[in-house]
C-alpha cells in the first residue's frame, strides 16, 4: 500500500474535499489500485526525454519562425474591451447562489 489514510486526508485537504469516512476508505483502495497500475511508467528511461505539456507548440505552426513569433497570430492588442465586452454585472452574478446585487456574498472568511 503506497497511499495511506493519512495521505488521503492530506490530499483531500489540498483539494478542498471533505470526504466521509467510507469515501476515504474507498479512496485509499482505488488510488492504490490506480497508482499500482501507473507504476509501469517507471519501466521507461525518460532521463533524456523532454516533457510535453501540449501539442499546439509542435504542430500547425509556421516552422520557419522561432519562439513566440510562431504564435504571433494568437496575440492581440492589449485593450480594456478585449475581444468582447465584459459581461454586465447583473449577468455575471446571475448564477451565483448568494449576492448583494453588487458582489458575490460568501460566509465569514476569518474564523475565530
Amino acid at each position: 500500500m503506497k497511499v495511506t489514510e493519512k495521505d488521503v486526508a492530506y490530499v483531500a485537504d489540498l483539494a478542498n474535499l471533505e470526504l466521509s469516512g467510507e469515501e476515504r476508505a474507498g479512496m485509499v483502495r482505488d488510488l492504490n489500485s490506480i497508482l499500482g497500475y501507473i507504476e509501469r511508467l517507471n519501466e521507461l528511461d525518460t532521463s533524456k526525454v523532454e516533457p510535453m505539456a501540449e501539442v499546439s507548440d509542435r504542430y500547425g505552426v509556421d516552422e520557419s519562425k522561432q519562439g513566440s513569433e510562431r504564435f504571433a497570430y494568437a496575440s492581440r492588442e492589449d485593450v480594456p474591451e478585449g475581444l468582447r465586452k465584459s459581461l454586465p454585472q447583473e449577468i455575471a452574478l446571475e448564477n451565483a447562489p448568494d449576492t448583494d446585487g453588487m458582489f458575490f456574498r460568501v460566509p465569514k472568511v476569518i474564523e475565530r
Binding site: 495521505d7 471533505e18 470526504l19 488510488l31 511508467l41 525518460t46 510535453m52 501539442v55 475581444l83 460566509p107
Partner: protein, 477 residues
C-alpha cells in the same frame, strides 16, 4: 420521406426545396424524443423555444428562395459540456445543476450560424469523466441497440441520440476517447479532430491540453459537413490553430487507391475481443480491396498510454475543477457557516464519486514530493507516445485499429472497478495525448447484434485523409 432518418444533406435539401419545413423536421425529432427517450435517457434539457425560433428563421429563408447554409434546418443535439446562452448547461453534474451560461460556445454558435436547429443538451458522464455514461449525476443513458448495454462515454447521450434518430447529428467532446468509443458502441460515426482544429471556447474544461470538440453523425459525409462548419481559428481560444480549413466534403471523393494504411500489432494484443478483432480484420481487407496498401507499423509505447493519460488528465482536471467552490456557479451546500466549510461541503455534495476520485488522483500527482515522479514523468512519456506516431506517419498516411477492445458492455458491469473502466479507452487515449485526429466508423456487429467500430487515425490536421478512407469504406460496406 421519414423525417427522422434523413442525413444532413437530404434534410437541408428537403427544406430548401420545400418538400418539408425546418419546423416539421424539428417537431418530428421532438416527437421521436418524446416517444423514445424515456427509456434511453439521451437528453438532459430540451430547448424548444430556441429550436422553433431557429426553424422558423430557416423556413422564412427557404420560402424566400434564399440559399440555405450547409446545416439549414438540421436538428442537432449538443453535449451538455458546451455552453449555450440561456439554456441550462450541467456537464452532467449536480454542482452545475442549475447553471445557465451567459454566452455560447463557439462550436455551437457556428453550428447555429450554419442553420442547425439545436434541439437540446445531451447527457454525458459528469464533467466528461467516464466511459459508460453511468457517471451522469442525473440518469444513465442506455444503448439504443440494446437497452441493457451502456452507450459508451462520455458523449453517450450524443451517440445514443444520433443512433436512435432523435437528432440528425450531435456535437460531443473527446478527452480520452469520449467521441469515438460511444460512436463505436452505438453504431454511428464519431470524429475527434486534431487538437486546436476546433475552438474550445465555451467548452466546460476537463483537461485543457486534451479536450477536443467534434461531431457524431449518421454518415462520414455528415461528420465532414459538421467539421467544416465548426473548424478554424477562433480568437477566443488562443490554442485554436491558425491552419486553413479545407473543404472536407469535396475531399471525400478523392481516390484512396495507393494510400498507405498502418496496422500496429500493439492494437491487436491481449484483451481484444475475438469478434471485434475479426470484424476489424475484415474491414482492413476491404480497404485493401479498395486499393489501399497495408503496412505494418509499430507504436511501442502504447501500453503506457492509459497510465500517462490518467496522470495528465486528472492533474489538469484537479486544477480546472477548483473553480467550483460554491461562489459563482449554481450550487452551494446549504447551512454552511464558514468559507472553508462552504468550499468543502459544496464540492463534497456537488461532485460524484468518479469526479472526486480524479480530483484526488490529480491533486496527489501534482502535490509536493510527487510532481516529478508522476506528473512530469507522464509528460515525458507523452513525448514518447507522440514520437511513436511521428515515426509511424513517416511510413503511412493513416493507421487503422479497433476503436474499443469490446462491444458495448452491460450497465453495472464495470462501475465498481475504476481501472477496468479506464481500460475501455485503451485504443483511443493515445490519439488525445498526441493531439492527432481519429474517426470511428461502424464495421459490422457481434453475434448479439452489438455494433463494432473501426478507428482510423491520421496525421495532425489530416482530417481530410481519414475522412476519405472512412467514406470509401462506408460506401463499399
Amino acid at each position: 420521406m421519414e423525417l427522422t432518418q434523413l442525413t444532413i444533406d437530404s434534410a437541408r435539401s428537403a427544406v430548401q426545396e420545400r418538400k418539408t419545413t425546418a419546423l416539421a423536421l424539428t417537431e418530428a425529432h421532438y416527437a421521436r424524443i418524446q416517444k423514445e427517450d424515456g427509456q434511453i435517457g439521451a437528453f438532459l434539457t430540451l430547448c424548444k423555444e430556441r429550436a422553433l425560433e431557429q426553424a422558423g428563421r430557416i423556413d422564412r429563408m427557404a420560402a424566400e428562395g434564399k440559399p440555405l447554409s450547409p446545416l439549414g434546418g438540421v436538428p442537432v443535439g449538443i453535449k451538455d459540456v458546451m455552453s449555450t446562452r440561456g439554456v441550462r448547461t450541467t456537464a452532467g453534474s449536480k454542482i452545475l445543476g442549475k447553471y445557465v451560461p451567459p454566452y455560447d460556445c463557439t462550436a455551437v454558435a457556428r453550428m447555429e450560424a450554419a442553420g442547425a436547429v439545436v434541439l437540446g443538451k445531451t447527457n454525458c458522464d459528469e464533467f466528461a469523466m467516464g466511459s459508460s455514461n453511468e457517471n451522469s449525476a442525473f440518469h444513465p443513458v442506455r444503448n439504443p441497440r440494446e437497452l441493457s448495454r451502456v452507450p459508451g462515454g462520455s458523449s453517450g447521450g450524443s451517440a445514443a441520440a444520433v443512433a436512435a434518430d432523435m437528432a440528425v447529428a450531435a456535437l460531443g467532446s473527446d478527452t480520452g476517447g469520449s467521441i469515438r468509443q460511444p460512436a463505436s458502441f452505438c453504431g454511428v460515426v464519431g470524429l475527434m479532430p486534431t487538437y486546436g482544429r476546433v475552438s474550445r471556447y465555451g467548452l466546460i474544461a476537463f483537461a485543457s491540453s486534451l479536450d477536443h470538440i467534434g461531431p457524431l453523425a449518421k454518415t462520414v459525409k455528415d461528420a465532414a459537413i459538421v467539421l467544416r462548419t465548426i473548424a478554424g481559428r477562433d480568437p477566443m481560444d488562443s490554442t485554436s490553430a491558425d491552419v486553413p480549413v479545407p473543404d472536407y466534403v469535396a475531399e471525400l471523393e478523392k481516390p484512396v487507391r495507393g494510400l498507405k494504411l498502418g496496422v500496429a500489432k500493439e492494437y491487436f494484443g491481449d484483451g481484444l475481443d475475438d469478434e471485434v478483432r475479426h470484424a476489424v480484420e475484415l474491414a482492413i481487407d476491404k480497404l485493401k480491396g479498395l486499393g489501399c496498401q497495408v503496412v505494418p507499423v509499430s507504436l511501442p509505447h502504447t501500453a503506457y498510454a492509459i497510465p500517462t493519460y490518467y496522470l495528465i488528465a486528472t492533474a489538469e482536471a484537479s486544477s480546472n475543477l477548483a473553480r467550483y467552490d460554491g461562489v459563482r456557479y449554481s450550487y452551494r451546500a446549504p447551512g454552511v457557516k464558514s468559507l472553508s466549510e462552504m468550499y468543502r461541503c459544496t464540492r463534497d455534495e456537488g461532485f460524484g464519486a468518479e469526479v472526486k476520485r480524479r480530483i484526488m488522483l490529480g491533486t496527489y500527482a501534482l502535490s509536493a514530493g510527487y510532481y516529478d515522479a508522476y506528473y512530469l514523468k507522464a509528460q515525458k512519456v507523452r513525448t514518447l507516445l507522440t514520437r511513436d506516431f511521428e515515426e509511424a506517419f513517416r511510413k503511412v498516411d493513416a493507421i487503422v485499429t479497433p476503436t474499443s477492445p469490446t462491444a458495448a458492455f452491460r450497465l453495472g458491469e464495470k462501475s465498481n472497478d475504476p481501472l477496468a473502466m479506464y481500460l475501455a479507452d485503451i485504443y483511443t487515449v493515445t490519439a488525445d495525448l498526441a493531439g492527432i485526429p481519429g474517426i470511428s466508423i461502424p464495421c459490422g456487429e457481434t453475434k448479439e447484434k452489438l455494433p463494432i467500430g473501426l478507428q482510423i487515425l491520421g496525421k495532425h490536421f489530416a482530417e481530410a485523409t481519414i475522412l476519405r478512407v472512412a467514406h470509401a469504406y462506408e460506401q463499399a460496406a
